[in-house]
């Protein structure tokens, strides 16, 4: 049977059998720790707290209230059923006109009403995952490359390159200037690609940034636009976190920037989604918004491979065109994110842990460099295993985002309630406290040694087992969509 299995493997495509989906990493063991022992406030208070999932769970109450008050938005209620057959039958890849209108309007509101969007440019896709892949299929051929500033969302490797054959060329950013994208870094990455005979078709940025949680300032955006214009390459702006901006500086959408610049609009494309701003990843609402008519045209045909369910389009058309609701939601969501961010970062600061100063996103970019035993990625892995297995927090190590500096970690804060945040902070306080104590004791014994190298935290035998050299960190659950969460109530209820 073994030979038959390998024969079968040969019968599959290269795509199906390569690892470019990025999900096979020894480090998914970190997720196992969560799966095997998930935190629950009352039922399992010692369990692992999930802080690796960038989900926005803070404002569902507002949506639930709206749904209760608007039964007509559902095609299945007594109030809405008259629309059932026409909606169920509707598979036009232009999308329901009212849905496109509502999306354009929501995008406008989510950007503070500073720029308008035309429904005729709204193209649907299977979540931002589908949108990013679709844009690549439209703009690049197999073997071409896109520049991406690091650190970046791990699943870009899959979304941009798996089936498209497009390569990723990272643009290195580091903490020396708060991870800003510099012209030098862009030119260096572009030059390197050229020297390797790699055809660069564009630059893709995430603004606000995942994992940094920061928004790009106007100057940086202008310099990016100048860069791509000069090189005559595309600029794709993934604005999936646009409405998670909770404090100043305000969000500057790429549209605002190009309006005041001499820029070829055919090079500018926006990817958007409701997964983060609204907290609706399950509804699979991805949007490609391009200023290039050919891309809109072709993208629309390609959207056949991942249209939004008409049932969902219908409901969201109603919800997102309710201006009062949208206004209330955006304001309240931003407030709650700001508050949660504040509580979390203050709690970290109390124990001397700093985060990159951020004003957006569902996470913090935590600086744990001084806790590293060695300022290497191995050192980062060692610390990560301790955090997962001993402190029992599932956080995401910077190396999985291709960060060039070891010691940074992404910590999500919007996917849990207030009590859980408190528990997490308590554990962090305890962990740092322990480390300091160990340091003090070591200094008493041998004052010359640096405190990092005396960080003696007990490793369980399991964490020691995972020490490996130079393996990339990619864990399925940092990617959306992802592999199962066996403790989701939905799954519990149905199995």
């Amino acid at each position: 049977m073994a030979s038959s299995a390998s024969e079968n493997r040969l019968l599959l495509s290269r795509i199906a059998t390569n690892e470019k989906h990025g999900e096979n990493s020894p480090y998914f063991d970190g997720w196992k720790a969560y799966d095997q022992n998930p935190f629950h406030l009352t039922e399992n208070p010692e369990g692992v707290i999930q802080m690796g999932l960038a989900e926005n769970q803070l404002s569902f109450d507002l949506v639930e209230e709206w749904i209760r008050k608007n039964p007509k938005a559902s095609i299945c209620t007594a109030e809405g059923i008259e629309k059932f057959r026409s909606v169920a039958n509707f598979q036009d890849y232009h999308g329901l006109p009212e849905f496109r209108q509502a999306i354009a309007s929501f995008m406008w509101k989510a950007r503070g009403g500073r720029v308008t969007f035309g429904p005729h440019r709204v193209v649907m896709s299977g979540g931002a995952t589908g949108a990013n892949e679709l844009v690549m299929f439209c703009l690049a051929n197999r073997g071409d490359a896109f520049l991406i500033p690091s650190p970046y969302y791990p699943a870009f490797y899959r979304d941009l390159g798996w089936r498209t054959g497009v390569q990723i060329v990272p643009v290195d950013c580091d903490s020396s200037n708060n991870f800003k994208i510099t012209k030098e870094a862009l030119e260096a990455a572009y030059g390197k690609a050229q020297n390797n005979n790699i055809n660069v078709k564009g630059l893709i940025i995430t603004n606000p940034s995942n994992p940094l949680g920061t928004t790009l300032d106007k100057d940086t955006l202008e310099s990016l636009v100048t860069f791509i214009n000069q090189k005559n390459i595309h600029l794709v702006c993934d604005e999936i976190y646009a409405a998670t901006v909770f404090s100043s500086p305000k969000f500057t959408c790429i549209t605002e920037v190009i309006q005041n610049m001499n820029c070829n609009p055919n090079l500018i494309h926006i990817v958007y989604s409701l997964s983060k701003d609204m907290g609706f990843p399950g509804l699979r609402v991805g949007i490609v918004y391009s200023y290039n008519d050919d891309v809109v045209n072709i993208g629309r045909k390609m959207s056949s491979f991942g249209l939004v369910s008409s049932q969902t389009q219908h409901m969201l058309a109603s919800m997102l065109s309710d201006e009062d609701f949208v206004e209330k939601f955006l304001t309240t969501s931003a407030k709650r994110l700001a508050k949660r961010h504040g509580v979390f970062t203050d709690g970290l600061e109390e124990v001397g842990i700093n985060c990159l100063k951020s004003n957006a996103g569902l996470f913090c970019w935590m600086d744990l460099r001084r806790l590293l035993r060695d300022q290497t990625f191995d050192g980062e892995m060692v610390l990560w295993r301790v955090i997962v297995n001993e402190v029992k927090l599932n956080v995401s190590p910077g190396s999985s985002f291709k960060c060039v500096e070891p010691g940074w970690f992404r910590v999500c804060f919007a996917n849990m309630d207030d009590d859980t945040v408190e528990v997490a902070l308590k554990r962090i306080r305890a962990f740092v406290g322990q480390a300091k104590k160990a340091q003090e004791q070591a200094q008493v014994k041998s004052p010359k040694k640096r405190w990092q190298s005396n960080l003696r935290l007990s490793f369980s035998s399991s964490s020691r087992r995972f020490e490996q050299e130079g393996v990339s960190v990619m864990s399925p659950r940092m990617m959306s969509p992802h592999s199962p969460m066996p403790h989701s109530p939905l799954l519990r209820a149905t199995t």
Binding site: N8, S13, H21, C76, Q91, R142, S309, M485, S488
Partner: protein
Amino acid sequence: MRMLSRNATFNSHGQDSSYFLGWQEYEKNPYHEVHNTNGIIQMGLAENQLCFDLLESWLAKNPEAAAFKKNGESIFAELALFQDYHGLPAFKKAMVDFMAEIRGNKVTLDPNHLVLTAGATSANETFIFCLADPGEAVLIPTPYYPGFDRDLKWRTGVEIVPIHCTSSNGFQITETTLEEAYQEAEKRNLRVKGVLVTNPSNPLGTTMTRNELYLLLSFVEDKGIHLISDEIYSGTAFSSPSFISVMEVLKDRNCDKNSEVWQRVHVVYSLSKDLGLPGFRVGAIYSNDDMVVAAATKMSSFGLVSSQTQHLLSAMLSDKKLTKNYIAENHKRLKQRQKNLVSGLQKAGISCLNGNAGLFCWVDMRHLLRSNTFEAEMELWKKIVYEVHLNISPGSSCHCTEPGWFRVCFANLPERTLDLAMQRLKAFVGEYYNVPEVNGRSQSSHLSHSRGQSLTKWVSRLSFDDRCSIHGR
């Protein structure tokens, strides 16, 4: 244009074909019972609009499914967050149970072998991405669904090599035609990775015989390649012979997990035709091969089914009373509707392939062609669209090797509209055959010289304004 990819610039999306152009003309001038009685009647859309009332009445009786509720509690948040690409377990279970029910419960299907996708469009493309590399090929019997040119070839870079079927044996697949297609691929230096069939067939409206299925299995076994059976119309087999799924035949031949062919047979399904829900984008891949399931599951990330829709349909399909009643009633109504179309065509002196499934008839208009050519087929088609004001699909758009065949849909319009369409067709054929003598010369039953001249008008009228927006079947 070179700023964009090859995908974006060539016409491999296939939407310049006449199949889609007919829809464009319809959209410019759509028939309406009151507002536009002279408009074009859409008979090119394979939609099932006959049984919505059954679903609507179920919804009226089951409000919880609609209201994001389970056991009285709101589950909106969990649903909104649910993006597990393995899908809602209850939904997958309900899907495989429904699929088994359609197959007379002659097969047992495992929900863990089912992968959910955004429609069959996505399922088919995903299969090709999993099974073939760019430049490789799949064999497909003609005539076939025009959308395959887009779904299977466009972004995958895979080729389609046709298996030429003809009316001489009711367009059935034979050993010879299979072998010829394989040789053709070899001649073109294309490595064949599999055969893809649609059963019940679009556009033929027939189910595959047991013999054909045995033949296919032997062929793929012999060549060591895959067999994908697109069974999207499996629930529309309304009269005998009954539908036989390739999964059933695997069982018949005692093919089990230990046989090589077991892992190479795969099924595509969807709720777009059987339940008439194309808007909901519910497709599925079923495979016995764990590697295919694993790869397809990850790929489904690019087109998952909305959790809201999974929840609703999970409740619906788990109601066995509904499914049993729906399947039976669906068959009954489709059968009656097909009968009406066939009899209407007969009154116009037109016959069709003896069909027992699908949402359309495969209509024989060869006797109305000026000559046995595809040019003549196009002329006839344009006349039917522009003069008779019926949008039907010419066989050439389905890659049929014989000119003169057309696909005519019957389940996407009210009965009275179907009747009107048949009246128009009858009048057209009557006029066509009863042309008065001109210049003392009698007219043959084929196109006269003067008619030939006037027909050229329609050739130039055809616009290439690519506004077609419907991507379905």
